[in-house]
Structures are given as structure tokens and as C-alpha cells.
Amino acid sequence: MLLPKFEFHEPATVEEACRILGELGEKAKTLAGGTDLFVNMKKKVLAPEHVVSLDRIESLSELGSSNGMLRIGACVKAAEIAESHAVGGDFPALQGGASKLGSPLIRNLATIGGNLVSARPAADFPPPLMVYGAKAVLKSSTGERTVAVSDFIEGPGRTIISPEEILDSLLIEKPAAHSGSAYIKLGIREALEISLVNVAVFMTTEGPDGSIKAARVVMGSVGPTPLMSPSAEKVLLGEKPSGALYLAAGEAAAMDSRPIDDFRASADYKRAMVKELTRRALAQAYNEI
């Protein structure tokens, strides 16, 4: 299976990458981990004249936190995020997404930025990023902008990124005290799987036994983009955590989901799974508090 021919660019800095992309525009594709791009090129879905690799830009591969803010460079590999203590301690849903993506071999190549820009409805990174209110930093030769991840993805394979921009990094604020989060991915098998349904949840309570003062539920694979469930959040806010409450939130989330019948499963099944996964994820998140 041959890759179509292309010209290869390997900028060493973000500025250089932005300059090259500014000149080439739509003729170029940005290469991060390659686990989506090369598959699409081999299948002849894409045949860019130019490939601009971000591999050699060091700042894009850095992960670190300062002043209560976690910064993940767009080219940080899924495996590194899965193994990072900074991520595991405060952001268990993000660690969950990173460790469920593809296989160990894929996780050593695939990047968080690539996963976001590919914008597949079943992707593992967007739901966890969205429950933490993560922001994406986009750069081009004319400037920089920061957008919420929830506003970044527009549809299957479509994002707001323009051809001359690169995704530089993701920024996530450290959650408040008494916060918990979780990510659950349902597939038919354990590894190398595309989600049938995935759910990420986040909650903050008023003190250790208090009521819920912040909540977020995001569902993947049940709509053209990962979906937030405002109804589930409404059910949770101001209430004391309990099994009955999680079930009610699950039912509300299922109502907000918009699954379709496809070869993976029926819409009815996916809706039922949104309900159950939301219930389980909330219980798991509460245990993290």
C-alpha cells in the first residue's frame, strides 16, 4: 500500500511551520503522529502535495504545569499523557482517554493535537478535554487565538482550524478542591477499538459531603461531534450525590444524545449505553473526590 507522492517539510520552530503553512495553504497537510493522516493517504482519501511535519518542533512535545494550569503541547503522544503523573493526579478522565486510544503501538505515535484536529465523533480525547473546559491555542503567521475545545470541533472531520494555522497546545485549569472526573469507553473489544459510546464526566462538590456545585457530562460517538449534556448538568447541580441522582442524570444525558443506527450498533442501544455509562462514570468520579 503506497503513500501518494508529496513534498516533505520539517520546520524546527512554530514560526517556521506557520510561515510554510501560510505560503502553501490548502496544498499542505500538517503531520503530527501520522496514525490518521497516513491511513487516509494510503486509502487515497487524501493526497496532499505537501506534508508539513511538526515532529521536530520541541515546544509542541512539552507537557508541564505552572500556576495551576496544565499545558500539553499538541504533539505530545497519547502514551506520554497516559503515563504522566501530572495528568493522572488531577485529570483522571484525560488519562483514561489517553490510555484507551488505539493500541500501545498507536499510543506511541498518536498525538493529542492530531486526535482533536481529526475530529472523529468517536475520538477519545475530546470528551475528557471538554469536561475540564480545556482551551486550544491556535497559531498562524498573523497571530494567535485561544478557543474552547467545545467550540473547536464543528462536525465529523471538521474543525475551526484554517489551513494556515497550527494547533499549538491545550490548556487546562487545575480543578477546584473536591472535584472528581472519569472517562468510560465502551467497545466490543478491549483494545484497538473505536468507541461505540464514550462518556466523560466531571463534578465538584461543596466540601467532602456537600452538594454538587459544578458538573459536566460529555458524550462521544452519539452525534456528529462530542456532545455536552446540559440536561444532565441541570439534574446534578445543587443536589447531593447519590445513585438515584446518577441514574436520573444518565436518563437526561440519553435524552440529549443524538445517536444513529450504524454497523456498530443501533441508536437505541447507544442511547441505553449513554444512560448506563453516565451513571457509572458519575459514581466513579465521586469516588475520586
Partner: protein, 154 residues
């Protein structure tokens, strides 16, 4: 247009001219005749093209040869030393963990990166480490047992 790259494969340095659209898997197999690295799906699903790149097991079908510039690559041919086969290779043979053999080089390299990082893995860690390598013959049991045997010094 070809690009010059320098890289280390199985401890040996190479300077090569490669076209940008050549994968690392093709460089190894077609140019260097290191055919121990297999090509199955060529889309990152089967793991038969697994190599170790700077200590990490990756699908060489999803890496460009030009991206491997400056990197250290280990293929299955690099596991054997003057002392003989790698302990994992010995155990795979002894336990009958090889049937058709097509997945074996990938399995060995995924197992090696696991044991290099985690010398005493439990069964779940072993099964997770090889979860990107498909075997259609053995049912995985003997492969898992072989990796466990090596980790326990049996």
C-alpha cells in the same frame, strides 16, 4: 526529491537517500532487506511491522523513513547477540508460541519494550503490551506464558 538521512539500525549507522513517501517498514524491507519486519494491514491495525524507535514500540508502516532520521531503530534482527538468541526468542521457541510466525517479530519487540520498562509485569500488563499485535494462530496463551517465563527468570 530524495532526502539524505542518518539513522542507527540494530546498532549500525546508516546514511541513506530516501524518497519522502517511503515508510520506515519499506525502507527496512525493500532497501535494507531486513525482512524480519513484516507488513500485514499497513494501516496500523495488525502490529506485524512493529519496530522499536528510541525505546518505544511503533508501527513502522505509519512512520516515514525521513521521520526516522537521527533515531535508533531495533528490528527483530537486532535481538540476537553474540551470546545467541534473546531470552524471549528462546522461550517463544521452547513454549511453541510460534505457529505461522508472521506476528512473532512484532510480538517479540512489543514484549521487549515492556520488560525493559517493567521487568515484572502482571498478566494484564503483558496482555495490554501486546494488544496492538494480532496473532491468528496461537490464541495468545503461549505468547503470554513465554513473556511471563522470561520475566520470572524461568
Amino acid at each position: 526529491m530524495k532526502k539524505m538521512i542518518c539513522l542507527t539500525i540494530n546498532g549500525k549507522e546508516y546514511e541513506l537517500a530516501v524518497v519522502p513517501n517511503m515508510t520506515l517498514a519499506d525502507l527496512l524491507r525493500e532497501e535494507l532487506l531486513l525482512t524480519g519486519t513484516k507488513k500485514g494491514c499497513e494501516l496500523g491495525d495488525c502490529g506485524t511491522c512493529t519496530v522499536i524507535m528510541n525505546g518505544k514500540a511503533v508501527n513502522s508502516c505509519l512512520v516515514l523513513a525521513v521521520q526516522a532520521a537521527g533515531k535508533e531503530i531495533t528490528t527483530v534482527e537486532g535481538l540476537e547477540t553474540e551470546k545467541g538468541l534473546h531470552p524471549l526468542q528462546e522461550k517463544f521457541i521452547e513454549n511453541g508460541a510460534i505457529q505461522c510466525g508472521f506476528c512473532t517479530s512484532g510480538m517479540l519487540l512489543s514484549a521487549k519494550t515492556l520488560l525493559d520498562k517493567n521487568p515484572k509485569p502482571d498478566e494484564l500488563e503483558i496482555r495490554t503490551a501486546i494488544s496492538g499485535n494480532l496473532c491468528r494462530c496461537t490464541g495468545y496463551q503461549k505468547i503470554v506464558e513465554s513473556i511471563k517465563d522470561v520475566s520470572e527468570g524461568r
